[in-house]
Assembly symmetry: C2
Homo-oligomer: 498 residues x 2
């Protein structure tokens, strides 16, 4: 079928270029045609994304894509390309990419393609504005405020009191938490630098996300002052180890500042015992931050919370919030009062301007897609989505726990299912260095074959002493039991002869 756009182009029988689009004179028609043609490409992609008969990806090595595929050249040039070529570029960009919304894409915690969220992103980019002032983002600023309050209510802070802001991802949200803790206890660091504070110590699980380590480096605390806490066999922090290390730090004259607890670690999906950790934090006057993947009633014990709707809630990337129980800290920590943006003599209530709370100046609108999804699903819809994902995790766990060739990294149901697959050739080899070495290579090999065949994608990694294992995290709303079955069949098909 000839598309609207190409039929018009033929009619016009001349090369349409970007210059012919709005705001050009008579640009309305070509603009509408161009955008509709783009939408046709995008909606076709969306349809195929959910179609199990399409591949998850069409893998190529970097050098292959760099050399240029047929008609697809990544190089930029002096002169403009025609809009026709631009549309081809759009098609090819999608063709050689990864369908993260495909029902068999399990590679990351951020998976899936929520249609309402997608519509929200399209609108956000059409509005093309900036969160720093109410002046230029009145609706989005209010949506952010209301949504943050709702999130704090769900966390369990009385009346949803507190503060917060959306940030460009969980690592930055975690960085905020360390900054705010430092500001709370040593506000003069803002002006005088780290010399105004004693040696400050941060604590986090040996299984926690590396973002706390990034923050300790960036903020001038130093990664050596981040103490890793021992975990039990399920990957949960051992509270006694925390207390011992707090006491040790104090004995050395350092100041324990901050504990990061994780509600759902990245690899194991483990829940740190927040209750006991909170008691220790209270006893020693330490800031408690909780990096949340799955909510629990204990999270209210935290001083600050990182909550990433782009993970288990399936909101399109990026969507992350830092919530703070005490009001005023975020502003106090980050405000610099730039006169050209945050004029005090505006005609509206300038307490709605958010820019001075942020470490950013310009700030992308991440709220709208989330707000719109919340409207479309209701709170109950998010709950149902998460329950469904947990059911699928349980299904996978029960399917493989006694299956020949599989061994679980830890027992018991979890949000994450971590397991080794032993190809037949390895099953008879006795436990030992040789079997470990060979097992370590299995997951990467299977993963490479998966990507090359393009059928499915799942993550793997080693952890401490444990050699490479597969990690399944299910957050993809398109996945069903049949996709779990497919994954297992695929692992066995590809791993059969290793």
């Amino acid at each position: 079928m000839e598309s609207l756009y190409s039929s018009i182009k033929n009619d016009m029988s001349c090369k349409v270029s970007g210059k012919d689009l709005l705001p050009a004179k008579n640009g309305e028609e070509p603009t509408m045609q161009f955008l509709l043609e783009v939408v046709e490409i995008l909606t076709n992609y969306v349809k195929k994304t959910f179609d199990r008969s399409t591949k998850v990806l069409d893998f190529h090595h970097p050098h292959q894509l760099l050399e240029g595929m047929e008609g697809f050249n990544l190089e930029l040039s002096e002169q403009p390309e025609s809009l026709e070529q631009i549309l081809v570029d759009c098609r090819d960009t999608l063709k050689y990419g990864v369908r993260t919304g495909h029902p068999r894409f399990f590679n990351q915690l951020s998976t899936g393609l929520d249609i309402v969220g997608l519509a929200g992103e399209w609108l956000t980019s059409t509005a093309n504005t900036n969160m720093f002032t109410y002046e230029i983002a009145p609706v989005f600023v209010l949506m952010e405020q209301l949504t943050l309050k709702k999130m704090r209510e769900i966390v369990g802070w009385p009346d949803g009191e507190g503060d917060g802001i959306f940030s460009p991802g969980g690592a930055i949200s975690n960085m905020y938490s360390v900054m705010i803790a430092r500001y709370k206890f040593f506000p003069e660091v803002k002006t005088k630098g780290m010399t105004a504070a004693p040696r400050l110590i941060l604590f986090t699980s040996e299984h926690s996300h590396y973002s706390i380590k990034k923050a300790s480096a960036a903020l001038g605390l130093g990664t050596e002052n981040l103490i890793l806490l021992k975990t039990d066999e399920r990957g949960r922090v051992i509270p006694a180890d925390l207390e011992a290390k707090v006491i040790e730090a104090k004995q050395k004259g350092s100041v324990p500042l901050f504990v990061n607890a994780t509600a759902g670690t990245t690899v194991y999906g483990a829940f740190d015992p927040i209750n006991e950790i909170a008691d220790i934090c209270e006893k020693y006057n330490i800031w408690l931050h909780v990096d949340v993947r799955k909510l629990s009633s204990l999270i209210k014990l935290a001083n600050s919370v990182t909550w990433n709707p782009h993970k288990m809630m399936g909101v399109p990337l990026q969507c992350s919030a830092i919530l703070v129980r005490e009001r005023g800290l975020l502003q106090g920590c980050n405000s610099m009062c730039a006169g050209y943006l945050f004029q005090p003599d505006k005609q509206y209530d300038v307490t709605y301007d958010t820019g001075d709370k942020a470490i950013q100046c310009g700030r992308h609108v991440d709220i709208f897609k989330f707000w719109l999804m919340w409207k479309a699903k209701g709170t109950v819809g998010f709950e149902q989505h998460i329950d469904k994902c947990l059911d699928l995790s349980a299904y996978l766990y029960n399917k493989i726990k006694n299956r020949e060739g599989y061994e679980m990294v830890f027992d018991g149901e979890h949000t994450n299912v971590c397991f080794w697959y032993f190809p037949p050739s390895l099953r008879s080899i006795p436990n030992g260095e040789e079997s470990r070495e060979r097992l370590h290579k299995v997951a990467p090999k299977i993963k490479a074959m998966m990507m090359e065949s393009g059928t499915t994608m799942v993550g793997y990694q080693p952890q401490g002493e444990k050699v490479n294992f597969f990690r399944m995290v299910i957050s993809n709303p398109a996945a069903t039991m049949s996709d779990i079955d497919f994954l297992i069949e695929e692992i066995e098909r590809l791993g059969q002869d290793l």
Copy 2:
């Protein structure tokens, strides 16, 4: 005209909800209908955005929007809303927002709505992936690499050598520059914290963007260790002042670490004398960062450069890059080697994984819209766009420099035109405290009336001793001379009786 979507909805004679969309069974039809209906709303908005007979904004105070406009309720609830209501919400969100692409929106440096950039954003959100690995963003990762190299070539570094990364905005790019400078001279700060370094001093113009101040607070250097440099009447750093302050810092036993020069300051649009500043930096072994708004051949003298395509180049928000002349520093400064993401045993060349260079973990795809615009415009197209904006600035400057009731904040043409408007009642009052006080209130009053009438938007602020003045920065590709004329007429119409 009845839309596709609503006609189908009527046919189905039942309430369509988010649950009926893909990945739901038989979800393809309602999904396509819903997305097309959204696109209809968005394309109508795009058309109106460029139509001068529509308002720039329909202003409401925060309390008005919070109380709820007719049919538009920002509150989130337990239960889902129908898709019909979701579409109404989309329409209302745009209705009460600000048209940043309107030809008469001059409020910020980031203005305009580039249609190809918009298409790029729509595609980016449809692809919904993350920049951290080649694995899940192969095409985007390569586009970023090629584009960064091209940018370094334009900066003027030999063969485009060096490194870089896209970040969530100019403030974060500037923060990177300070982190990298610190890592270059005091790499042990990464592990040991700021105690491993002497007192470090940063320098920037008293007219520079507040992001360097934010960075000095966040990174543990302290805002007091950021020394502000004196500027001449045009807002340019005085090199002799820099050298004197460097010497003073050294005499006090501190270490001058970093100088930020600005190529086009936020308020005046001033160019710091990069040549002389670079000489001083070389002499005293100080890192030179340049925060670039407008390119010049001198920028190659920098050790690092912040370049924000979302400003003068008109790329949709957000799009900012930090460029670094020396390879390896970005990786060295930020790498934490998370095993679950950056497995060394992948089947492809893992040097393409970018995540360990970033302070973020997840990283939004900001490259595609920029790459696509570059394809559509060519390098020449960006140059033409910037030239056109500068021509309009000159037009405005020449129009008002001798016009009754206007006074320029500084003489000479510039990218920014900063001026006072004196209402007739003020013109006869002799210079003095009273006239200053009254003049200070003029710009805010006119701005408030502008917003309430919704006809145009322009920024204002005080600077140092100077009372509130208007600041015109033209980066909007839709603006023409007639819009400049309109702005002046509007200022006079609204300011007539003040």
